[in-house]
Symmetry: C2
Subunit: 341 residues, 2 copies
DNA sequence: CAAGCCTATGTAAGCGCTTACATCACAAAT
DNA sequence: ATTTGTGATGTAAGCGCTTACATAGGCTTG
């Protein structure tokens, strides 16, 4: 063998390679590989010799070498904004679980912690076979488009982009239902809290809010374009207390917002839902615990992550891109913050 | 060139390699590599030619090939049980953020979704330079030990294992302080809810509970060994309501437990903290929102993740293993479920 | 008993990159 | 004009695997 395999030594034992295993077992590297891959048949005695050698040497195959040879990373990339709150975490869990079933590793990139996002994504593309990107992940469409030219990409809950596969949870109809439910409690001055321009999700929720009004021959108020975080909700609630709006119901873009609005109002002596009804979106854990329980919409977040991983795998396997976004149904969760007993 | 580089074509454009880029730019592959790595000096005109070719071909380097050549994966593995609840998510965020700074990818494995954990970990070891394992991740010590023989390993909040580096948040003293605080509210029949045998964290928290009693010349009751989930808390609360214990204060092993206990009691008409004080551990989001606010302990979870990533990197860089676990300080968060106004 | 056939194993090419070393062109120094 | 130095680039070996193909026994078969 021309190659000079390992006279070297490093801090860690390092260096058991397929060569050293083969030598120790007294077989060729091909046989070692066959034993480890388990595909081809190998004589039982040989198999044992190899396994023993592997054990003794503590051999761990080098993934990179395998990847290079098989021309697959056997890994999926997932790009999310962050993980505070249960939404993304749940999505990630769904993704990871499905990826595990498909024997794919998952490489995670959180955009909020990156200064150079484009570079991070480019670097990610370097080590995975396919990438799922969360829609609101602050990744410019250009980056997605660029990526998509090289690797299979799935956009989760994002702006549809043609030629790029998309998966999402249903928003419009559920929002219409939720808003309708609130209106049917006899509320006449409902407000949508959240910025429809911040992404397709919120946009559709507002659209549902509008539709519910139209269904009843009314017209919806303009949305209050605030952010999605607790602080935004608290700030808005203070505006409210100052009398800036005349409302008897609030449909918030997500639970975080709804919760902070609701508790801020309560702390100021307002009665929810007596004085004002508040509903949210996402059904986070806290929504079950607050009093009154928060009426909200549960998304199949886990399933969404799982679906993304599945599609990625299908795409890598050569399946064609689906033209239309796959939409998963959501579920209205009625508690009492909307006015129900 | 003897090698037959790419006459092939696949579904995806595929196939721009360093060779095609070199050819297009009219330079050697070495030069392309130099431009892309940016280390050595390359004439500006050449650099531009290469960059142009890269652009035109949409070249994305193959990470596996680089890894093989440089003999580094430039990736860290992280093994966590799951991501429900803010604890692990926050840990992961800290880990990811630091890894990003160090230009390391992060490959995530969630043990709850794996059927064959050992295999998953072995496979992980194949593709990363080092691995951080969360203590309670249900990974047997043997697996950790095995791993550790091959790759740098850091155990987060786990059972110390000699020769294996460990990082953790402080438990004992903070638990002593928390328990002391409760006792000093004049409670005399305090109970620890949680199973000290489920891991070093809980064990130390119970030890703090005991110590606080001893500090006051009292002796602590035996722990109530229940699980850490909401359902466990609700079940325990029902036992309590049935009169199975005579208590006026509960120190729960974590917030999830504390919250479900507390609300279950409240729903049954008990007054918290009037009839019974309840405190938790972790300071999850919900703890701020419930009424009364839950007194708890905030852990530097993000910092813990970050520290783990740093240490991993140091170890990969050849730094020696630190003998003693690094412990991060926690912070008592006093709200009103303990009896404070 | 020769001819063929499996089966188990070995041989070697190739995966796409990095990098030590060799080479070359040109400018400066003699 | 010749030598020497220097910066830019090319050459080629190797990273550790997988796998197509070749080979060598041991059986079966006529």
């Amino acid at each position: 063998m021309a190659k000079q395999h390992h006279a070297s030594q490093e801090a860690k034992p390092a260096g058991a390679t397929i060569y050293s295993v083969a030598e120790r077992a007294g077989v060729s590297i091909a046989t070692v590989s066959r034993v480890l891959q388990g595909a081809t048949v190998v004589a039982e005695t040989t198999r044992q010799k190899v396994l023993t050698a592997v054990e003794e040497l503590g051999y761990v195959p080098l993934g990179a070498a395998r990847s290079l040879a098989v021309r697959h990373h056997e890994a999926h990339g997932l790009v999310l904004p962050e993980l505070s709150g249960p939404y993304y975490a749940e999505l990630l869990m769904g993704f990871e679980a499905r990826a595990a079933e498909l024997a794919q590793s998952v490489v995670l990139v959180l955009t909020d912690s990156r200064t150079d996002l484009a570079a991070a994504v480019r670097q990610l593309a370097t080590r995975v076979d396919a990438i799922a990107v969360f829609g609101a992940a602050a990744i410019s469409r250009d980056v997605v488009r660029l990526l998509h030219a090289r690797k299979p990409v799935v956009v989760i809950a994002g702006e549809p982009l043609d030629g790029v596969e998309a998966v999402a949870a249903e928003n419009l109809e559920s929002a219409r239902e939720l808003a309708g439910h609130v209106l049917d409690h006899g509320r006449h001055r409902a407000l949508f809290v959240g910025d429809p321009d911040s992404g397709p999700d919120i946009r559709d929720r507002y659209a549902g809010f509008v539709a519910a009004h139209e269904d009843r021959g009314r017209t919806a108020a303009e949305p209050v374009g605030v952010g999605l975080r607790e602080a935004d909700g608290a700030a808005f609630a203070r505006d409210l207390l100052r009398g800036e709006h005349d409302v008897d119901a609030l449909m918030c873009a997500n639970d975080e917002l709804a919760l902070s609005v609701m508790t801020t109002l309560q702390d100021a002596g307002k009665d929810v839902p007596g004085d004002i009804a508040v509903v949210g979106w996402d059904d986070v854990m806290t929504s079950r615990y607050v009093r009154p329980g928060l009426t909200t919409v549960r998304q199949p977040v886990h399933a969404l992550g799982s679906l993304a991983a599945s599609r990625l795998h299908d795409l890598v396997s050569g399946e064609p891109v689906r033209k239309n976004a796959q939409t998963l149904p959501t579920q209205l969760v009625v508690r009492s913050s909307c006015g129900c007993p």
